[in-house]
Amino acid sequence: MKYVDEFRDRDKAAALATEIEKLACSIEGGSTPIHIMEVCGGHTHSIFRYGVEELLPARIELIHGPGCPVCVLPMGRVDDCVAIAEQPNVIFTTFGDAMRVPGSRKSLMQARAEGADVRMVYSPMDALALARAHPDREVVFFGLGFETTMPATALTILQADREAIDNFTVFCNHITIIPTIKAILDSPDVRIDAFLGPGHVSMVIGSAPYDFIARHYRRPLVIAGFEPLDVLQSIWMVLKQIKEGRCEIENQYARVAAAGGNVAALQAIARVYELRPFFEWRGLGSIDHSGVRLRPEYARFDAERRYAIPNARIADPKACQCGEVLKGVLKPWQCKVFGTSCTPQTPAGALMVSSEGACAAYYQYSSAKQRTGARG
């Protein structure tokens, strides 16, 4: 595949790995680990799918960040989804991987099995098309994700507004990554030396919003693409900054993410959403200004206003240590319940939920030997 295979080349990967090794050895501190957090779940997925960690020197430890929107969805919000989906006459539409996320009572998949009309869509526009095709039904779209998916939901609402479609609403759970990175950096036990920045979020928001990470927190960040060579090159760029004592925001993914972001997408976001005072994250708790809701001008498209939803806060199971894993304090397999009461079949914690979650990825893709060896 053009523009894809080039970024998965075995020989180039080996050459990059050699350069990374050399650079890592030349950074002072001997064998003290260098902790690099990849913020985005897409990176986590790619790192495991291609076995990238195996190519890295032992000194480099990747910390798998909070950027998997499906994972960080709190249980209470899933319960709200189920409650809406179970209303009579509702067609509840969602991205595929949100189907299996457990609520406190059931997942959307279980709700569907019990008779709720839950449908998988690939784009919010597909949900709007359903609303057009079924004027006698209420179509609700489950708006989920970071700035990557936020504009598509906003543009769909603007389109519904233009067409005056009144049987379409959005259950808005869009979240924003910057306050969460800040919250992680502010926590006292954080162990992160540098970041790989989320490529597709950056495609929308540009690079300026990350400036505080370099300026205030003195951590380098490289906006990274998602193919394995992108990830390797970004790690090399981060190490180069560390070696040279720089803390800058650099962009490895310039072929997709422009420095200024996407103006049209940003305009749509600004027009449709406003920041919530706070939003609950699974595994991390409540974080100020980390979620968005629809502006009052678009209230008629807001499922939260149209439906009575339970809006209950459900605490994460006590044994879960997702927060520690997200901050890099623990490795997934060091969590008390990893692989025992928390597995992909029965996820107790956020990070076991989606294939982009760090724990699910470890469980799925890394060998038993690696796991037990690392644990011992």
């Binding site: 595949m1 894809v4 990967a13 190519l55 189907m99 690939y122 893709y365």
Partner: protein, 355 residues
């Protein structure tokens, strides 16, 4: 000389309506008309013609072909019923044949039952029955008995088909999932993931324009050619639901061996790869309906590959991996990048990723 059998002549019923109703499941004349006009007319063969409640098969003929019977059953539900490269009828026939073939059996007879939703068009049923008859004829098997039921609207999705198959395993053929040994090679007979991708694309929910065709095909001739040339074949499995990832896991567990496959060697059509990239699906888990996994003793690896490649259904055959002593029960993939990852069984169905 034996005497000539004179079979009772039966006047076939004729359907007068365009749509199936509950009356066609009622056991009366309407049902006879449906069975005669749609199914018997299409499956027409001498074993079916007497219309007894059971097919009667000649033991002597079966015993001459081998020393064991192979018997299997398959339930086929698919949406849409017609898709590029096949339909539910072809799928039922080929799927059942393939379940026999990977046991080394020569498939001979099929039994088919259709569960029909009230309101289904007779024309649709005719097409499916003709497709079944055509597929069976091409494969040299006979549909010798069957059943139909009509259920109220909503009790099934248009049409479900179950098929059972009977075959004979020739003397000496021993294929077992627990027979894989370290050092054996792993082969596939062609491009992976096409049926799964074709069905997902044909549903139209993903609004992706593509022309991926299902690989639905009967594999028994390919298997016969393979076994004739490569006696060191230890195990065959058709890689249907769950894809080759699932089949390899089953073999690794049954044989208590590790299996390592090489991502770079897994043959895939460009369109299928692209389809999976866009939706965030892993093609190793996509269903195939004309693909098998073969575990072959190392000394017969080349012979097996040559035999597969010499057949039209194996032209793209490849060695994709090998059986190892490491991590018994696990399948590991050497990635394109040169790293490794576990290829585990799926938890549930694959779901498209958000971004």
């Amino acid at each position: 000389m034996g005497k000539t059998h004179i079979r009772p002549q039966r006047v076939l019923g004729k359907l007068q309506v365009a749509t199936v109703t509950l009356a066609h499941g009622g056991g009366g004349k309407a049902m006879k008309d449906l069975i005669d006009d749609v199914f018997v007319a299409a499956f027409d063969n001498s074993d079916l013609a007497p219309m007894e409640d059971q097919a009667r098969l000649d033991l002597g003929m079966l015993a001459a072909a081998g020393d064991r019977l192979a018997f299997t059953t398959d339930a086929v539900v698919v949406d849409p019923l017609f898709f590029p490269g096949g339909d539910i009828g072809k799928l039922a026939v080929c799927g059942t044949i393939n379940d026999l073939a990977v046991g080394g059996a020569i498939p001979l007879y099929l039994s088919c039952a259709a569960i029909i939703e009230e309101g289904t068009s007779v024309e649709l049923l005719r097409k499916v029955a003709q497709s079944m008859a055509h597929s069976a004829q091409l494969a040299g098997v006979r549909i010798v008995t069957g059943d139909t039921k009509v259920v109220p609207r909503g009790a099934c999705d248009k049409l479900f088909i179950t098929a059972s198959g009977l075959g004979v395993i020739p003397k000496g053929v021993q294929l077992n999932a627990h027979a894989a040994r370290p050092g054996d090679v792993v082969l596939v007979n062609g491009l992976l993931g096409e049926h799964g991708a074709a069905i997902l694309a044909a549903r139209g929910e993903m609004a992706l324009d593509c022309t991926i065709e299902s690989d639905c095909a009967p594999l028994h001739e390919l298997v016969a050619a393979l076994l004739a040339r490569a006696p060191g074949v230890r195990c065959l499995r058709d890689a249907t639901r769950g894809g080759i990832a699932t089949v390899l896991n089953e073999i690794a567990q049954a044989s208590h061996v590790g299996i390592e496959i090489d991502e770079a060697q897994c043959p895939m059509r460009e369109q299928v790869r692209g389809f999976c990239e866009i939706l965030g699906l892993d093609p190793l888990y996509l269903a195939n309906e004309g693909k098998l996994v073969a575990i072959v003793a190392p000394e017969d690896a080349d012979a097996a590959l040559t035999a597969l490649q010499a057949h039209p259904l194996g032209a793209e055959a490849r060695i994709v991996g090998r059986v190892t002593e490491l991590e018994p029960g696990r399948v590991v993939m050497r990635t394109l990048l040169g790293g490794h990852r576990i290829v585990d069984m799926l938890v549930g169905e694959q779901l498209p990723r958000i971004c």
